[in-house]
Symmetry: C2
Subunit: 407 residues, 2 copies
């Protein structure tokens, strides 16, 4: 540390006034962050705010619990990469036992593939000549990638491109089981798969059934009923195919809200949850299988760390994280990580307004405040990196390399 | 074009099936986009969706109208860069007559300064030793940068750092006039400015009064009343300072919603609107000075261009832009650019659900749909670049270089 202080004292960027307050100058911290050389050096208080912070103990607990549970049920897990957009997390999930990673879009899958992730499943159809050209290029790099299809035109386009490139594309047929994309399960889906049997450069193996309408049903029993009902349509579609002698080795679906429901449904071979690794206020509200109103199966691992930058009056503190620092699609705000008496309300693009319940700790200019995010996926998509901590120590910086990759 | 087609025919990335459908392969388009070499070559239909699209004719109309109006009233304009986060736009605004650019945060200002933009005003206080170190570094690069202060502790910290660096920092005192940050106008603000008189490395010149509570009041007369009331507090604060012999050459504030109100208030020297250049659904709803319910002073220049990727049934089309492609902080959805019978509803992180009024044009898989964004600032913050078009032709690609710079 002495040598760093000596270096600092000679830095043109280090006003003398800062010495003694902190061990490092910003000029040094900036270089550490750029290099990712932070372990044992930086604490959370050193981070430029607003900062996306991942608690590694909670994250590892969540990963081990989910992967262990799903594998214990004899199912595969291919966690959804649209939640994390982070190749390092995809790698850790595979190391923990995942068969690969889902990607919401082609451009997200491209980032994962370039980072060496395999076992990719792109959960939205790849439509139009340019994206199909990219799909072929991706399949050459990562041949086990699975592409979703929900209409015969798109299947024909993919087949022609694959034929021209002399490759085969792995295909999942995407089923509309409640709410997102896909062809209707049952006869329409079976007819599509049958029509695809003549397309020799497509290899059908999988049905995908994501039940967006089930994942956030409040109350475990109600959620179980919805998920069992909608996923039964997918299971029946798989059985219809098999009765026709068409192999369908995989049925993938499920979410953080339904993992402990869908893993008990016969015929579902693979789950693709995402939010479990981070958790958010939204999922905390759906209720657990234990009857608890707070869904506590997984720990809140992801937060946004902010600083109070203004104190217009004694009852109001303004933090530096607003509409650009948190997801805003839910009808509830970020939640203070530890103090229920500290209330956040959005205060425009750049700020949050903090008020204090009677008896709560108040906050002054320069103080930090850490908030659990309302909805993890769109929040992560606002940041280029996440700062990974154990306790107060920053242990690593992980790039959100697929941030913005919605194409 | 022939030579390009010949090149394309030989490209490993160009399946023969694509020839004839489009002039270019994706491999070629990808390179053009990377180089920014698109003028006269690409059309909107070639863009990877979801894409942020700027209509240059509408943008230039908006810039010329706003700058011309404000300068015609004898006021300066320093448009807010938190709206565009794009150095090329900041340059064009200065070329049109702006005195510089506002930046919401220090990191945003750093990007503008590094791109050569001068006349910066950072509209949020710069708090804590690391950010103050960065402020000093920024002031060395761009000495005319103005920093906002709203408490004496922060003023002392800035002064000490400036003294150690042997520079002077230009200071605005930020007033809480309705809703964001700042010290209370009147006596508290005057006392802060007086206390700063002894801080020899700070140069106070400016009061800032951003009335977030005025900008979106529906109905011009109601909005005028609110803005005049709250801005009067800022004007009176300026007069109180002058009566004490303290020079305060600038009073900056105002928004797209109040530009034609605040520019008529004596004592306001400078406006800092942002949204006017793009416009959004939110501002369209506040009503115009002409009594029209639609605020039509400025044209909708900014859209998100999407593709239909799924058609679960005849009445529902799914586009590839969802919670990660549009701002979500307003209680209304994106609005189709041209067809009022095409209705968008958010369909999760990655998708939008399109339904059709009776008689409206329907959409099929592969069709494009272009939407006006609900709220421009947080939408722009989701994209690394904007595609600038005239009509259907892509003319340029501008980097949103300060995207994500909320620190």
């Amino acid at each position: 540390m002495q040598s760093r202080r000596a270096f600092l004292a000679g830095s043109v960027f280090a006003p003398a006034v800062l010495l003694g307050k902190t061990s490092y100058s910003w000029a040094e911290i900036e270089k550490m962050i750029a290099r990712g050389d932070v372990k044992g050096k930086l604490s959370k208080a050193d981070l430029p705010t607003p900062a996306l912070v991942l608690d590694l103990d909670a994250f590892e607990h969540n990963v081990n619990k989910m992967v262990g549970f799903v594998k214990g049920k004899g199912r595969a897990i291919r966690p959804h990469g649209k939640t994390h957009k982070c190749p390092e997390i995809a790698r850790r999930l595979v190391a923990a036992g995942a068969v690969g990673a889902c990607a919401a879009k082609l451009s997200e899958a491209e980032v994962f593939a370039q980072a060496g992730i395999r076992g990719l499943l792109i959960t939205t159809g790849v439509v139009g000549p340019y994206k199909i050209e990219r799909a072929v290029r991706l399949a050459k790099l990562a041949p086990d990638t699975i592409f979703c299809v929900d209409n015969i035109k798109n299947a024909n386009d993919l087949n022609e491109a694959a034929r021209a490139a002399k490759i085969k594309l792995n295909i999942a047929v995407d089923l509309w089981v409640s709410n997102r994309t896909g062809i209707m399960p049952g006869e329409p889906a079976v007819a599509l798969v049958e029509a695809m049997q003549g397309l020799s450069n497509l290899k059908f193996t999988t049905l995908q059934a994501y039940a967006g309408g089930a994942s956030h049903v409040t109350g475990f029993e109600a959620r179980k009923k919805v998920s069992q009902e909608v996923m039964a349509k997918a299971v029946e579609t798989r059985r219809m195919l098999e009765r026709k002698g068409i192999a369908c080795s995989h049925l993938t679906g499920g979410s953080t809200g339904t993992y402990n429901i869908d893993a008990d449904i016969d015929g579902i071979t693979e789950l693709q949850p995402g939010s479990f690794m981070f958790m958010d206020v939204d999922y905390n509200r759906i209720g657990g299988a234990d009857g608890n109103a707070v869904y506590g199966d997984f720990k809140n691992a992801l937060t946004v760390f902010t600083t109070v930058v203004s104190k217009p009056n004694d009852d109001l503190a303004i933090v530096d994280g607003g509409l650009k620092a948190f997801s805003t699609d839910k009808p509830f705000p970020p939640k203070h990580k530890t103090d229920e008496g500290i209330n956040y309300a959005f205060g425009g693009d750049e700020h949050g307004k903090i008020t204090f319940a009677r008896g709560a700790n108040t906050l002054s200019v320069g103080d930090k405040a850490e908030f659990i995010i309302p909805h993890c996926d769109p929040s992560v998509n606002l940041y280029d990196k996440m700062f990974c901590v154990r306790g107060e120590n920053v242990e690593a910086i992980w790039k959100v390399a697929a941030r913005g990759m919605s194409q």
